[in-house]
């Protein structure tokens, strides 16, 4: 087999991998033992996240608030012209994304949903992945869910995509042949060369990461972990990321949203 066909076979076999082939599939974390990576942070970093005057993610949120009420595109309208006060219209929206989009027949994450409305309703070109604008608007919209429980839609059309996300999370990959689950389900709380391994709950995204010195999306975080595993990261916007995001949100169901999270 060439590497390319072997990869294709591996992907085709993925849904099997999680259930049948892995010798001991990682056990999912019991619901009452779940904890945000916030809990493992230093007192200083916790204080930074807790106080809006010191949380550096808030600067992005404020940029997002500006964009929210700035007219753009052929519609000449701002987000606010159609959606009104985000505090009420966007409350809980981040907590239930990724959500099913009937047109593409797939889940869309919050960034994609914002870009869709921007193209379709505002009639403006989409923001680039990981652009300052998209992160700012996403952080602004997601902050309206702060304190709300993660609430994946009870939509049977999402079920197959949650399963793909779960299989990807449990599949070994990269030169180091690790799966996400081996660290985040089996070894959370332990020290990986001095870094506490978190449970990988997506409750704070977009986050302000001190190492990045900027806001970053959940996809950027997943990309970082894949690079650590010496696996080829997917391109931003890849279906695999959205399916993993969906699985992670499902796994974190009921936990409190904390956007904008601060992480070391």
């Amino acid at each position: 087999m060439t590497p390319a066909t072997r990869f294709a076979v591996a992907i085709a076999a993925l849904p099997l991998v999680a259930g049948a082939v892995l010798p001991s599939p990682a056990a999912e974390i019991p619901l009452n033992e779940r904890r945000s990576a916030y809990e493992d942070m230093s007192r200083d970093n916790k204080a930074m996240q807790d106080d809006d005057t010191s949380n550096p993610g808030i600067l992005g949120v404020l940029d997002g608030e500006m964009l929210w009420s700035t007219p753009a595109g052929a519609s000449g309208k701002s987000c606010a012209d159609c959606h009104g006060d985000a505090k009420s219209s966007m409350k809980g929206v981040a907590a239930r994304h990724p959500a099913f989009d009937p047109v593409s027949g797939r889940p869309l994450d919050l960034e994609q949903r914002i870009n869709l409305s921007r193209q379709q309703d505002q009639k403006a070109p989409p923001f680039a992945a990981e652009s300052k604008e998209l992160l700012a608007l996403t952080a602004y919209v997601a902050m309206q869910s702060r304190g709300e429980p993660v609430a994946p839609p009870d939509d049977p059309r999402l079920a197959p995509f949650i399963e793909i996300g779960r299989a990807l999370f449990n599949a070994r990959q990269g030169q180091l042949n690790l799966s996400c689950a081996q660290c985040h389900d089996d070894n959370w709380g332990k020290s990986l060369a001095g870094n506490v391994v978190p449970q990988a709950h997506p409750t704070g995204y977009p986050i302000y990461r001190l190492e990045w010195q900027s806001l970053g999306s959940l996809q950027r975080r997943l990309r970082n972990c894949m690079i650590g595993m010496r696996a080829e990261p997917y391109a931003y916007g890849a279906l695999e990321y959205v399916d993993m995001e969906l699985y992670l949100m499902w796994r974190a169901r009921g936990m409190k949203m904390e956007t904008p999270g601060v992480r070391p």
């Binding site: 599949a171 332990k190 060369a193």
Partner: protein
């Protein structure tokens, strides 16, 4: 299952598609009794390999490395490894720990087959070279207590 089968095949016939073919070796029980390179390793160089970041050992392990601030605790300390294991056992553990325990989190350091989605810059290369494996084995054998 598939992966283990593939590993056995690779041992019988060195993989033809590999960019850098691995040196052949023979597994006897839980050991690889003979040096991969045919020569003994150098313990001092082996210690340097173990503490080097790119080798990844100290992500998971701790050991007698007072100068290293960041060590892991996902696995047993390397202290005393040379007393607990024979040279051949340590060599197989490093080459392909998954042979000993298919569910292990410890990577296989001298294996290029049966892997998925390896990043471009690492594709077709083992994590460590045969010389590095021998150096690390020689170093671990010095950890008697």
């Amino acid at each position: 299952m598939m992966r283990l089968a593939a590993t056995t095949v690779a041992l019988l016939a060195a993989p033809a598609t590999a960019q850098e073919a691995l040196l052949p070796y023979e597994i006897v029980g839980d050991t690889i009794p003979k040096s991969l390179t045919g020569a003994p390793g150098d313990a001092e160089r082996g210690r340097a390999v173990v503490v080097k970041r790119e080798s990844t050992c100290l992500l998971c392990h701790s050991g007698p490395f007072p100068e290293q601030r960041f060590q892991g605790d996902l696995s047993p300390s390397l202290k005393g490894a040379g007393a607990r294991w024979s040279e051949g056992e340590l060599r197989l553990r490093l080459v392909d720990a998954a042979r000993l325990n298919p569910a292990t989190i410890m990577p296989s350091y001298y294996r290029i087959d049966g892997l998925t989605r390896v990043a471009q810059n690492y594709r077709g290369k083992p994590v460590l070279t045969a010389e590095q494996i021998e150096d690390v084995v020689a170093y671990l054998m010095t950890l008697k207590d």
